[in-house]
């Protein structure tokens, strides 16, 4: 069983760098239960996604449309945001702007306090995980109940999410049964680990909360600038309960989550369910526009959160990360995520998208190891329904990280073995004579390492290679020497 992590998460108010990815990954890789749980879950959803995506003959056109719409949003974000504000107000809602996590949490806390609520129910929302809303409300004596089943499991276990869509993907049902027995009064003594029985316990627990709550809190998958409509896309129906039963609804949304027109749903309601849960259509798509006189909440507030997003927008290569519709297809296909799980990324945004988003939201100094947490295999880009070229952004962030370290790291960083080696290699490749001399030097220099036609141990920073791999020694003749010998037989090779 994996231990709850105490790593700082994105938007965390505790400053300081997070644990480097290779160290966190090493621990996760040794956890057999975690490896089994995540390996099994990602493989299942990966295969299912491939099947339902394969059914659509216009899948590539949908991806391109999804990308193009988001690109337009980012290009005109200022105009669209103001349009959204006007539309929401016109429909009877209130709009609040929040520069960062603290401001967003304060706005929500003030609204909840103004209605005298001590308990609120919440739809699963990554943005409020990012701002650590639950913790901020708790400081003001307000308890926020998570109502998404997986998110409830996380909350009850005092754990943190390890997947964007399936936050408790690292838990199996035996672990969940044990957790429910320990934490929920509704759990009978003979509770089995049958998923249906587990869901029934959670259902009874949540019904009480839904019926009692005066305030509901949600995130937003989309908000339409043209109409002011906000949307949550989900599977369980618990989100629908939160957005329709309480008197007051507060939706917290990142500023990039808007789409220009109602018609744009056409694209995303096809691509999102297929990419996330591998369903043709998700069971519940809730859409609300301000308040209606005889239905749903009496009061609606939309909190628009920046929290680093305008920094991402300012990066011309990296801004495509703001296209993300949080489907998590990139996590499910990522060979690194599949083996390390989400906690190793130390952020509410794990996997490939997290490896680019976290360093941009928080600053490269706080997450410098994340852009290297990838073999650049490109599986993420191939499945992304909004065509975020994640490998390209990863490489771009590596450039920023190298520059940052050179600038801020002092003499020690500038004289680090990797940097020195890269400099020397750049010089070697810059001239044929130096390059050919280096080839000869490598051949001569390897003699202490090569035994019986193999190199089984390398020194220094290369030692990781020979932990489980041999290396073939540099052969006696390079290709170019062979070529020269062949084409100019008289000349000395």
């Amino acid at each position: 069983m994996s231990a709850p992590t105490s790593l700082p998460v994105a938007g965390s108010r505790t400053p300081g760098p997070r644990e480097p990815f290779p160290d966190a990954a090493r621990r996760a890789l040794a956890d057999e239960q975690l490896r089994h749980n995540i390996g099994h879950a990602t493989k299942t959803i990966r295969e299912k996604r491939a099947r339902v995506v394969g059914e659509l003959p216009d899948w590539e056109a949908l991806r391109e449309a999804g990308r193009a719409i988001k690109e337009r949003v980012l290009r005109h974000l200022d105009d669209y945001l103001v349009e959204l504000e006007t539309s929401v107000q016109r429909a009877g809602g209130h709009v609040h702007w929040a520069r960062d996590a603290d401001e967003a949490n304060r706005v929500v806390g003030d609204l909840v306090a103004a209605h005298g609520a001590e308990e609120v129910v919440k739809v699963k929302s990554i943005t409020t995980e990012e701002t650590q809303l639950n913790e901020a409300l708790a400081e003001r004596g307000i308890h926020c109940w998570e109502t998404d089943l997986a998110q409830l499991i996380i909350q009850l276990g005092e754990d943190s999410p390890s997947h964007i869509l399936v936050p408790a993907i690292h838990r199996n049902r035996a672990e969940i049964r044990e957790l429910f027995m320990r934490t929920l009064d509704e759990a009978p003594d003979d509770l089995s680990d049958d998923p249906r029985a587990l869901a029934e316990v959670a259902r009874r627990h949540l019904r009480r909360k839904f019926l009692a709550a005066k305030v509901g809190i949600s995130g937003a998958n989309f908000a339409v600038a043209e109409t002011g409509t906000v949307s949550v896309v989900e599977s369980e129906g618990n989100g629908r309960m939160c957005t329709s039963l309480p008197e007051v609804l507060i939706s917290v949304m990142g500023i990039e989550k808007l789409i220009p027109r109602w018609q744009d749903f056409e694209v995303y309601l096809q691509t999102l369910p297929r990419s996330s849960t591998a369903e043709r259509m998700n069971p519940y798509t809730s859409l609300w526009t301000g308040v209606a006189p005889e239905d749903g909440p009496r009061e609606f507030h939309l909190v628009l959160v920046d929290n680093g997003r305008t920094n991402v927008l300012a990066d011309v290569v990296g801004r495509q990360a703001l296209n993300c519709i949080r489907c998590s297809a990139c996590l499910n296909v990522c060979p690194v995520y599949e083996r390390t799980g989400g906690h190793a990324y130390g952020s509410v945004y794990p996997g490939p998208i997290g490896a680019i988003l976290t360093p941009m939201l928080e600053g490269i100094d706080r997450a410098g190891s994340l852009p290297y947490a990838s073999s650049l295999c490109g599986a993420c880009y191939a499945v992304c329904p909004v065509k975020i070229d994640i490998p390209r952004v990863l490489v771009h962030l590596r450039h920023l990280e190298v520059e940052h370290t050179a600038r801020e790291g002092g003499l020690r960083a500038r004289l680090g073995p990797e940097r020195v080696a890269m400099r020397v290699m750049a010089g070697v490749f810059g001239s044929r004579r130096r390059y050919e001399a280096a080839q000869r030097a490598a051949r001569l220099g390897q003699w202490p390492l090569a035994h019986g036609g193999r190199i089984q141990r390398l020194p220094g920073m290369l030692a990781g290679w020979t932990t489980m791999r041999d290396l073939r020694p540099v052969p006696a003749e390079s290709f170019r020497e062979w070529w020269r010998r062949r084409s100019e037989p008289g000349e000395d090779g």
Binding site: F21, P22, A25, R26, L29, P335, V336, R339, T340, P371, Y372, A373, S374, S375, L376, C377, G378, A379, Y381, R392, V395, H396, R398, H399, E401, V402, E418, M422, R423, M425, A426, V428, F429, G430, S431, R432, Y435, Q439, A442, R454, Q456, M461, L462, G464, W465, T467, M468, R469, D470, L471, R472, V474, P475, E477, S478, F479, R480, E481, W482, W483
Partner: protein, 246 residues
């Protein structure tokens, strides 16, 4: 047809037999091969490791070395991917309009071996003979940067005597990723373990691919495990005939 060989620094130094096989194969198919001697490295290692400034002169060097080549062929999808995909970014970064133009002009003329054979020469059966059981690992950059598709498999299927066995979970990365294998050695090893298990499950004697970097990774583990399975570049299989065996 004339073609310039871009051997790649990696093959030049560590896998000369792949370069020799490529030359043998192309000449057998009637291609006039030249080897511009001034070539060194395409810059992929520097670029992917974060050293963008150091990459710019290497890109300059590459485009000037191959400027006059009708077509450039390389037995490496990864290095061709660097040229065709990422050279645009490097040129952009340099801010040098002339370099941008040179890169744009050269890119479509740089081809990976299977692309050259099938798209330019129009051959699938290259007249090879290789009577062994072989499994093919499609490397990430060949699949997802160059989109070579089944070109390598079409070439391999046409080899006389070959017993080609399908690799399970073939499109999964082997975990090499350049400096990733060293910087995230533990994760890389976990990926490599699964790839090696898949290779061994096939029962093949030879694991082949279009990139020696990935093959060095997979082959390194096969060698350490004394698995009795050989990693061999696709070019060497395609070059072998009844008379000439690798």
């Amino acid at each position: 047809m004339k073609a310039s060989l871009f051997i790649t620094c990696f093959n030049d130094t560590l896998f000369p037999e792949t370069g020799q096989a490529t030359v043998r194969l192309l000449e057998r198919l009637g291609v006039e091969v030249d080897f511009p001697r001034e070539q060194t490295c395409c810059g992929q290692m520097h670029f992917n490791s974060g050293y963008a400034d150091e990459t710019v002169p290497l890109v300059r060097r590459f485009v000037s070395v191959f400027a006059d080549s009708e077509v450039v062929v390389a037995p490496s999808a990864s290095c061709v991917g660097m040229v065709r995909d990422y050279y645009t970014d490097v040129a952009e970064r340099s801010g040098d309009e002339a370099l941008k133009e040179e890169v744009r002009a050269l890119q479509p003329r740089v081809l990976e071996l299977s692309e050259f054979l099938i798209d330019r020469l129009g051959v699938e059966d290259v007249g090879a003979y290789f009577p062994h059981q072989v499994t093919y690992h499609p490397t990430c950059h060949s699949l997802r940067i160059l989109h070579v598709g089944d070109r390598p498999l079409r070439l391999l299927r046409a080899v006389a005597g070959i017993d080609l066995v399908e690799l399970p979970e073939a499109e999964e990365c082997c975990g090499f990723g350049g400096t990733f294998a060293v910087k995230n050695a533990d994760t890389s090893m976990a990926m490599l373990t699964d790839k090696v298990r898949a290779v061994l499950d096939t029962g093949a004697q030879v694991c082949t691919a279009g990139d020696n970097s990935c093959l060095m990774h997979i082959g390194g583990a096969l060698s350490r495990q004394r698995a009795g399975v050989r990693a061999m570049h696709m070019a060497e299989i395609l070059a072998s005939t009844d008379e000439v065996r690798p």
